[in-house]
């Protein structure tokens, strides 16, 4: 089968007026499984529905694969197969504004670029994952001890700052104004300059999370990150294989949470 995916014209839109295309046309060959007979589903996704309820008008717009289709996940974790005819998927933004989302997409794509070793952060929908992560309890320190006084101590005691992850991103992104329009070499230079900041370490960590989390969290679209690694996802049993395949790669087909027959090429 043709193992090519094209995430052409990924762009960010602010609902009413379509804004500029932010990414160059990109095509890559990757060990990607797509179901060519992908079942076409109604296009009104749970995301769109929720977005209307919330009266949010900001979206990331990603074109569907021209071959086969891609699997995207709604906010409730339900799978949405988008076939070629659907063309465009609107994913509502919950934390970033469109400009910030474009910057994060561009920066994450330099941390984990699409290149000869396979697709990268943009193709895996990392920005969607980070947007949801920051909008949720982890972005606002819902599970962190935040009682004052905030004092600095020895580094072994861990992060003692007051700023939440969401605040660190907001502040950090101000320093990346115009970043997404730079040539990649300039982008790399800009990231090298902030390499030792907390913002960058969060961005790097979240890029990896968005690449390799279960697709229910918005990233790892179509289990693309797992396919790069040969990680099979949540497989119920390895009983017959765990003490075999010594010294050789054992790479079962990927499965995902909430998956159902037809999600993969099995």
């Amino acid at each position: 089968m043709d193992r090519t995916i094209d995430m052409r014209n990924a762009k960010v839109e602010n609902g009413r007026s379509k804004s500029e295309t932010v990414d160059d046309v990109f095509t890559t060959s990757a060990p990607l499984s797509v179901n060519q007979e992908g079942e076409k589903l109604a296009f009104e996704t749970p995301c769109d529905h929720l977005a209307k309820q919330m009266d949010r008008r900001q979206f990331v717009v990603i074109s569907a694969a021209v071959v086969g289709g891609v699997l995207l996940c709604g906010l409730d974790g339900s799978a949405q197969r988008v076939s070629a005819e659907d063309r465009i998927v609107h994913i509502p933004l919950h934390f970033f504004d469109p400009d910030e989302a474009a910057t994060v997409m561009a920066a994450a794509s330099r941390i984990f670029p699409a290149d000869e070793s396979g697709p990268g952060a943009k193709e895996a929908g990392v920005v969607v994952y980070i947007d949801r992560h920051l909008a949720g309890p982890y972005g606002s320190d819902g599970h962190r001890y935040t009682q004052p006084p905030f004092e600095s101590g020895v580094r072994e005691l861990g992060y003692q700052g007051k700023a939440t992850q969401a605040e660190i991103y907001r502040e950090g992104l101000k320093g990346l104004a115009g970043f997404r329009l730079l040539p990649t070499a300039e982008q790399d230079k800009a990231l090298t300059q902030i390499e030792s900041t907390l913002f960058f370490s969060l961005l790097r960590q979240h890029t990896i999370e968005g690449m390799f989390c279960d697709p229910v969290h918005g990233g790892n679209v179509d289990m693309l990150g797992w396919q790069l690694l040969g990680f099979p996802g949540p497989r119920m049993s390895n009983y017959e294989d765990v003490d075999k395949h010594f010294g050789e790669a054992f790479r079962p087909d990927q499965v995902r949470l909430g998956g159902h027959p037809g999600d993969t090429e099995e």
Binding site: I111, Y138, G153, L157, F212, P234, M236, S237, G247
Partner: protein
């Protein structure tokens, strides 16, 4: 505050030890028993859809919510302690089953001399080999006394392993350095994945004595003496930090709760956050009267004839300090007992090794692996070594997902992002393996717990303050483990490796283990311990304390099996002796 109807027994904490005590009392007596658990209910079916690495491994869904309560830490009493604002070095459990739900389920026994560490070390080397500021103590029980209880809990959980010493006869293939066992493991060892098998082969060739990790994860279907049936492990790899969706990993919810549910005299009350032990301060006849707790903002007093604290090392200690039960330990005067002998474990990864061939690391279970006991404290000859005691070295295969493992590259790759890093990280993703060392952490006079003067929990109660740092004995033991590990991974055929930098200051950012111990330690004298060898409070005879908080110092074994064995011993003493004639079960 609302006063509730009195019960015979109140148990604080619904984890391994609290629920084991509840099961024993519920099935062997008619006593009314209430378990107070501050987290929510959990059951096996909750885990059907939780093979989610982000939620469990990264976001720590199973772990205590640090926004409600944490601890503060300082390395010594000249530093100001600051709160651990996010989980890192250890992972306390919450909810029914506690940390017993997300544990790795390696269930090794402690070596016999661990229980008499002070006397055996002095006997072997003289007291001059003890670190100057040590606080090592004997436990007040011996291995021979505990062995029957070890055997009993191995049958309870369906331990899978290979004996190395049955009644004194050494058996090749098991841990030939272990203490005597009265019987073989209930089940054969779990399967051995490739990385661990490679370690097994290599260490055998090097003259060491590898053995399969004892596992509380079933190698085959099993029915325990309570009639509880559980299936064998499928090696899905979503194990430590996860609840087991099929119940192959022994957890309080699948091993104890089904029994407890059959006994109407026991109830588990979720959402009950215990704040104080209530007691009458009347000298020799002092008695606890029950506990107070808060549930959804409302305060309750639960009176009880017998109070059992089973709420993990840190919270057991904190409850005594908050309640004013016993005298807090004072490190400068070396008086008082509550909070003394805080130990963790010298648990770290001595080396990260890279291999040519893929390892298929996604397959495994929390307890699948191979260990060697050749570097254990009772095996090493320390005559020429710059430290005492030791630990076990393990090649674990607990199942690895990309969020926990992606990004490990040899030191020659200098960047941590971008194309070159990505390409190398993808290549090595399934070609990297870590050894794990787990060593004894000796007790020191300067490592202890008390109440923090500044920070409070969500109820406004002071947080527990840990004063904890490594000493030279720990650091030298770690350096020894690193040197030996490098020899071993080289012999395993590693093409490259990154050794650990060793122990510097205690680092709360890095996960080490959840094996914190001490604070309400057991011993032979009320001058130097909080509870007697039956885990009964020296002053309040109707107060019992269960779990790692009663361990005078850490051994190199994982503490869970010893906690369960000691809980069974205490349960027998309560059922057979205390309930018939309440009073102190042991003299000093």
């Amino acid at each position: 505050m609302k006063t509730l109807p009195s019960v015979d027994v109140v148990i604080v904490g619904g984890g391994w030890t609290g629920l084991l005590m509840a099961k024993e009392l519920g099935s062997r007596t008619t006593a009314s028993v209430v378990v107070l658990e501050r987290g929510g209910p959990r059951k096996t079916t909750d885990y059907f859809n939780t093979m989610d690495e982000l939620e469990n491994y990264v976001r720590l869904r199973m772990i205590q919510d640090f926004s409600s309560e944490t601890v503060t830490l300082r390395h010594n009493d000249r530093q100001k302690a600051l709160p651990l604002r996010q989980a890192g070095t250890f992972l306390p459990g919450v909810g029914t089953g506690g940390a017993g739900e997300h544990w790795g389920a390696v269930c090794d026994r402690m070596s016999p001399d661990s229980f008499e560490l002070l006397s055996k070390t002095v006997e072997k080397y003289g007291s001059k080999r003890l670190p100057e500021d040590h606080a090592i103590q004997d436990w007040g029980v011996t291995y021979d006394e505990i062995e029957p209880f070890y055997s009993r809990v191995e049958k309870l959980i369906g331990a899978s392993g290979k004996a190395g010493n049955i009644n004194g006869t050494k058996i090749e293939g098991g841990n030939v350095f272990e203490g005597w066992r009265s019987s073989e493991y209930p089940l054969p060892p779990t399967k051995i994945p490739y990385f661990s098998a490679l370690f097994d082969d290599t260490t055998k060739k090097l003259g060491y004595h590898p053995y399969p990790s004892p596992a509380a994860t079933l190698s085959a279907p099993y029915v325990n003496p309570d009639g509880i049936a559980r299936p064998g492990c499928t090696y899905c790899g979503f194990c430590e930090r996860y609840g087991c969706m099929i119940g192959a990993k022994a957890q309080p919810t699948n091993t104890l709760m089904p029994v407890i549910a059959k006994h109407k005299n026991v109830s588990v009350r979720n959402g009950a956050w215990v704040r104080r032990v209530v007691f009458d301060k009347t000298g020799r006849n002092a008695k606890s009267r029950g506990v107070t707790y808060v549930d959804s903002g409302q305060e309750f007093f639960q009176p009880a004839d017998l109070v059992v604290l089973a709420s993990w090392t840190l919270n057991n200690t904190r409850l005594l300090l908050l309640s004013g039960v016993g005298e807090p330990y004072n490190a400068s005067t070396e008086t008082g007992t509550v909070g003394r002998n805080l130990t963790h474990q010298v648990s770290f990864s001595p080396v990260l090794a890279f291999f040519e061939k893929p390892l298929n690391r996604f397959m495994g279970s929390g307890a699948a692996g191979v260990l060697i006991g050749d570097f254990s404290g009772h095996v090493l000859d320390h005559a020429e070594l710059p430290f005492i005691r030791g630990g076990t070295l393990q090649a674990p295969s607990h199942g690895y997902g990309p969020l926990g493992s992606f990004g490990a590259v040899p030191n020659s790759v200098e960047t941590k992002w971008g194309s070159a890093w990505k390409k190398t990280a993808i290549h090595y993703y399934d070609r990297a393996g870590r050894l794990a060392f787990q060593g004894e952490h000796l007790a020191y006079k300067g490592n202890f717990m008390d109440l923090d003067p500044t920070y409070t929990d969500r109820n406004g109660d002071p947080l527990l303050r840990m004063t904890l740092d490594w000493r030279d004995n720990d650091r030298r033991m770690a350096d020894f483990a690193i040197a030996k590990s490098i020899e071993i991974v080289r012999a395993m055929g590693a093409t490259d490796f990154t050794p650990s930098r060793g122990l510097e200051s205690y680092d709360a950012r890095v996960y080490q283990s959840s094996h914190l111990q001490g604070g309400t330690i057991m011993g032979k004298s009320p001058e130097t311990s909080v509870v007697n060898p039956y885990l009964q409070h020296w002053q309040l005879s109707n107060l019992f304390i269960l779990g790692g908080s009663t361990f005078p110092q850490s051994s190199s074994a994982r503490p869970t099996l010893a906690m369960l064995a000691l809980t069974c011993r205490t349960a027998d003493a309560i059922v057979d002796r205390y309930l018939k004639a309440p009073g102190l079960l042991a003299g000093s």
